[in-house]
Amino acid sequence: METLVHERSTPEVADAVDEVAQSPFTANTRKFGMWLFILSDALTFAALLGAYGFMRLTSPEWPEQSGVFDIRLITFMTFVLISSSASMAMAVFAAENGERKHTLGLLGATIIGGIVFLGCQAYEWAHFIGEGGTLFFNPWGVPQFSASFFLITGFHGFHVLSGVVLLAVVWVLSLLGRCSANGVELAGLYWHFVDVVWVFVFAFFYLL
């Protein structure tokens, strides 16, 4: 049990955050908080995907996805996003080694990956809407199809967008030399999460 105990010596009261930011685990407090946030966010996605699964199972028919989407484009998007996760991981590594130039470059690459993904998604939405898909109607079959398309990809896209904004902030702060390696790592955790969620969306919504 001794390993669960941690030393505390700072007598200063003023900044409670910094004082408790020591950890019995290897994760520091902010990282632990980020993990919890990710857990809760993951469950929001689980609710949406669960609802989607319920609708698929109870619906008498469901449109053939390959007839509606260009799977090549979706695969490309997926590839871009996963690659951006790789560059993100390298950015974190660079930040930990104090290589600011590398960090900035890799973060930039990650941001560009995110933007490309969002661009593809915008194209997809435009295409879908152009063919007559709305929230409550679509030419391919049950209305739940387009409703879940917009809601799930929209909710995910919103996360990617938030991630891009977050990374941009981290990029600027790093440029000014005001972002710790820990900060880069936290943003990275969020970014990996957004990517992992996409893998689920890709699998359940586009492939299955």
Partner: protein
């Protein structure tokens, strides 16, 4: 009176000190008083409902002046009754009980009991309160918009909740309801993220997880449930909002006609809402009851004056409850048209989750056995908690078995059951907590005699009301019905309804004793000693009044678990967690 003292090194103004404060103690008190105000409001709504149920369609001309629409002509309209019921349930289950336990007690006690200086993320913690306050305001606003408050119940069953035309409060009122729930979810996420992180990361030296007070285990378990199920409610709310304003039909089936109008939606499933809601809704009852159990266990442990029985067992049971609470939701849906095989599974899982609950009760009873119990007011309320929890839980067996539930579903048996388990017993635990920690917070004692009177009237009232409801439920008295005298087969139950109404008024009135005691003691109560109950936990070791940052130069060091009572070396019969280790090295832990 001092509620909280800010450290002298801070020259913060009143606003920073008491309003926009990041001090967990202030945030906790803000949560407490807001939840308390909401409780009074929710209680008044139930009084109105009891007026109607006791004396259906009687004229109350005075009430017309307050509710010109809902009580037009002095007679309550059915829609107004449903609106009262929806708001009462929503307010009490979510905006009072959830906020009161993790929000108020959690905030105040977690850092103190684990020897931390504050929550891990104090700013987030402050925000959590303000978003909570906003959510309360938005919810109450629903009464004042066109059409009034929603009528679809605290469960917001679709399609009623999904179609704005389905009733007077279902347009703007239901929208506000949804926004309030979403805000509450966000606030709750910010809160529990803090509680879990703080408990895991910020324990003081020596405070291992096997030494934290039982209350901390309760808070931790409830917070873990929260962080897993509130997001699902949020997801469900997003879908419902899309149905309402985006024209989708996740929850609306085809061919629905409302008020001679064919609803254009098609292909959705009302059952989907029920699944999503109850995936949140059932664990929600444990979000309320588990911290209540923790508080009661803590108080029982103090007043039995001997080591509590089953510390590790209790912690284990709560962890089991966390896991099981998420797989039993279907027991609310036995008669919903869900697949009967699923019903069988959920009945089994429900019986399974009664096991940890029963073991917990057993731990408390064994702890009491042979103890020289000090029957203080907090102890009485803690014991009342146990009594009511057991009684209410027994009703759960009949509901949890799918075959008996078919008869009992949607009757007052269910209403009686969940008011005992989820309303009364947590309320008793909360009262126990207030009486117990009042001296710590205010530096004064509450009046014991008034406390006892409050206890005996409350427990008599609770049983009179809610046991009678069980009986009426077996007799077929319908839930959600605003005038059961319309049905011949229920007419003979009317005297019971009158009885319940009177008992409810008495119970409500007796709460004035508490309020009086609380307010007078706050200003005039006798000064409390530093550790009036002779308890071992750390919150009693903090300076009085407790400064911002809680501890002096160094946080206390912990040497043992919190329940070393009846120590055999003569002198005092208790040994605080932070007392130097030299004494009794070989005792326990």
């Amino acid at each position: 009176m001092y509620l909280v003292e800010t450290g002298s090194e801070h020259k913060a103004g009143f606003i920073r000190k008491y309003v926009f404060s990041t001090d967990h103690k202030i945030v906790g008190l803000q949560y407490f008083f807001t939840a308390f105000a909401m409780a009074i409001f929710g209680g008044l709504l139930s009084i109105l409902m009891r007026l109607q149920l006791g004396w259906p369609s009687r004229m109350w001309p005075m009430l017309e002046t307050i509710f010109p629409v809902g009580m037009a002509g002095g007679v309550m309209s059915p829609e107004f009754y449903l609106a009262l019921q929806t708001m009462h349930g929503t307010i009490m289950a979510i905006f009072v009980l959830t906020a009161l336990f993790t929000g108020a007690f959690g905030n105040y006690l977690i850092p103190l009991q684990i020897g931390a200086r504050d929550m891990a993320f104090p700013l987030l913690n402050m925000l959590s309160y303000w978003v909570y306050l906003l959510s309360c305001i938005v919810l109450v606003l629903a009464f004042f918009v066109e059409g009034g408050a929603p009528i679809s119940g605290w469960t917001a069953y679709a399609p009623l909740s999904a179609i704005p035309e389905s009733g007077p409060g279902q347009a703007m009122g239901q929208n506000l309801w949804l926004v309030a729930i979403a805000l509450f979810t966000v606030s709750s996420m910010m809160g529990v993220l803090n509680y879990i992180t703080t408990i895991v990361q910020a324990r003081t030296k020596g405070m291992t997880m096997s030494r934290v007070p039982l209350n901390i285990w309760g808070m931790l378990s409830a917070s873990i449930i929260s962080i897993m199920v509130f997001p699902v409610l949020l997801g469900a709310g997003v879908l419902l909002l899309a149905d309402r304003i985006g024209g989708t039909s996740f929850f609306v089936p085809a061919g629905l006609v409302m008020g001679d109008k064919l609803i254009p939606h098609s292909g959705g499933h009302p059952l989907l809402w029920q699944h999503l809601f109850w995936f949140f809704g059932h664990p929600e009852v444990y979000i309320v009851i588990v911290p209540a159990m923790g508080i009661a266990a803590e108080i029982i442990a103090t007043f039995i004056r001997k080591p509590v029985f089953g510390y590790r067992i209790m912690a284990g049971c709560w962890i089991a409850v966390v896991a099981l609470s998420m797989v039993v939701w279907g027991h609310h849906m036995f008669v919903s048209g869900m697949n009967p095989f699923l019903g069988g599974f959920f009945a089994l899982a429900t019986l399974l989750i009664t096991v940890p609950s029963a073991i917990l009760v057993l731990c408390w009873v064994v702890s009491l056995y042979g103890a020289r119990i000090q029957f203080t007011t907090p102890m009485l309320f803690a014991l009342g908690f146990v009594s009511i929890f057991v009684t209410g839980g027994l009703g759960g067996f009949f509901l949890g078995s799918a075959w008996t539930d078919i008869q009992l579903h949607d009757t007052y048996f269910v209403v009686g059951h969940f008011h005992l388990t989820m309303a009364m017993s947590p309320l008793f635990a909360a009262f126990a907590g207030v009486y117990y920690w009042f001296p710590r917070i205010s530096g004064r004692m509450m009046n014991e005699r008034l406390g006892r009177v409050h206890f005996w009237i409350s427990i008599a009232g609770a049983y009179a009301i809610f046991l009678t409801m069980h009986v009426m439920g077996v007799g077929g008295m319908l839930r959600h019905s605003y005038d059961t005298t319309q049905y011949d087969f229920l007419k003979h139950l009317q005297p019971l309804n009158v009885f319940v109404s009177f008992a409810a008024f008495a119970l409500a009135a007796s709460q004035l004793i508490f309020i009086l005691n609380f307010l007078v003691s706050l200003f005039r109560g006798p000064r409390a000693e530093a550790n009036p109950w002779k308890a071992n936990t750390l919150e009693w070791a903090a300076p009085a009044p407790i400064p911002h940052g809680n501890w002096g130069a160094v946080t206390p060091e912990v040497h043992r678990w919190p329940y070393d009572y009846m120590v055999p070396d003569g002198g005092e019969d208790f040994l605080p967690q932070n007392a130097p280790a030299a004494v009794l090295e070989n005792k326990r832990f």
